[in-house]
Symmetry: D2
Subunit: 128 residues, 4 copies
């Protein structure tokens, strides 16, 4: 590996607290594998959808449920946390084809009333 790159790698090892270079490199390779799983729209992946919304918005709650209803097999579990009197955070673990999970997440995040939403690429871990 060329010197400049090596320095950046070592900086990353230090900053993130990896025990050594190998562990850091292994992590980079794994991230690439997960990214590839997501690139193939028909690949089986695990997505984690994080949304923040005001739970006073009643209509939103109904609309969320309605959309989720079509995903009964895919949403493994939802964790719901009341952040304060107004705001809720929901984390949904979703299993499915990359393309479908992405579409579903886009639909959810773009809904009126959702303050913040993001889809995290995770993996079923089989290929790692």
């Amino acid at each position: 590996m060329e010197d400049g790159l090596l320095k950046k790698l070592d900086a990353m090892v230090r900053e993130k607290g990896y025990p050594n270079r190998s562990e850091a490199i292994r992590d980079l390779v794994r991230k690439t594998i997960v990214d590839d799983e997501w690139t193939d729209a028909s690949g089986e992946i695990i997505g984690v959808l994080v949304i923040v919304f005001d739970h006073h918005s009643r209509e939103l709650s109904s609309r969320l449920l309605k959309k989720e209803h079509h995903w009964v097999g895919g949403i493994l579990s939802t964790l719901h946390i009341h952040l304060d009197h107004d705001n809720c955070l929901e984390v949904k673990v979703i299993r499915g084809k990359a393309g479908e999970v992405r579409d579903f997440a886009d639909e959810m995040i773009s809904m009126k009333g959702i303050k913040y939403g993001t889809l995290v690429r995770a993996t079923a871990g089989v290929a790692l």
Copy 2:
């Protein structure tokens, strides 16, 4: 301990798979401590509320949220699982005074649309 009682204890040890009598007795004592925490209506406890409902019932979802809203500090976390196209299971971990948690659970369980509900006595574990 008298003979009849000892036999019952040994049967319990065998049936539940305790490693020995002491562990089984320790468990019985701990259950009594938790029961006592719940008997004192102003004692701080942890309750786990389990409810099953049909998630097509939109109004129910709004009414649940409305009731929970007043418990923002008490509901530590909710786990939501879609059981099938119709049925949802929710597990709510609640921290608060025994009397208030019991009243809240009664209110939730008695709501129209809730198919099944039960409040589990748990504990913050401090006294065990």
Copy 3:
């Protein structure tokens, strides 16, 4: 219904906050259905296992994982909450045959290091 029983029913309606007698009776019938699901050891049920333990006990954590490993298909989701510096609460939603879920729960609860454990009878809701 005889007078004495009716009075008790009305007391229950008041105490638990049911909107009317029918809703209270419906709940009692549903509880019986769920109990029946659990009586049949080969019936498909949902169980919610609640355990409290001290998370300093390292060996316990390994032993829990080992036991859960054989239940990979059955444990739908676990919710873990750190109650304080020592105590953790875990809620496990389990799907399976009543007899097997009961055995699994007994095994978990009787383990050394578990301070408190209880298995809650829930249901997949299909028959309600």
Copy 4:
């Protein structure tokens, strides 16, 4: 807004399924606010840490617990899902100062045995 930018905005509205431009713009602004909360290392934020690991690795489980122990106040809840016989997915909702949450996540993700880990920027929603 200049024409080229407007076209890109409209493409985003179509692709993500936003009802209109305003909703899409509102989302972009909110993302910036959340990013700002995270830029200020002492700002109070919500982070969602997603990790995938092989749960046969016993030592890992102990090491995870040890690290989490110091974060008792910050980890609001953990959702644990057994993906298959080997792989587990854990989602941890963490509240704290941006810098501290980032350091904690880096420590967790860089641990030997963690196959995949990523920290999601979320928010307590107050400023949105």
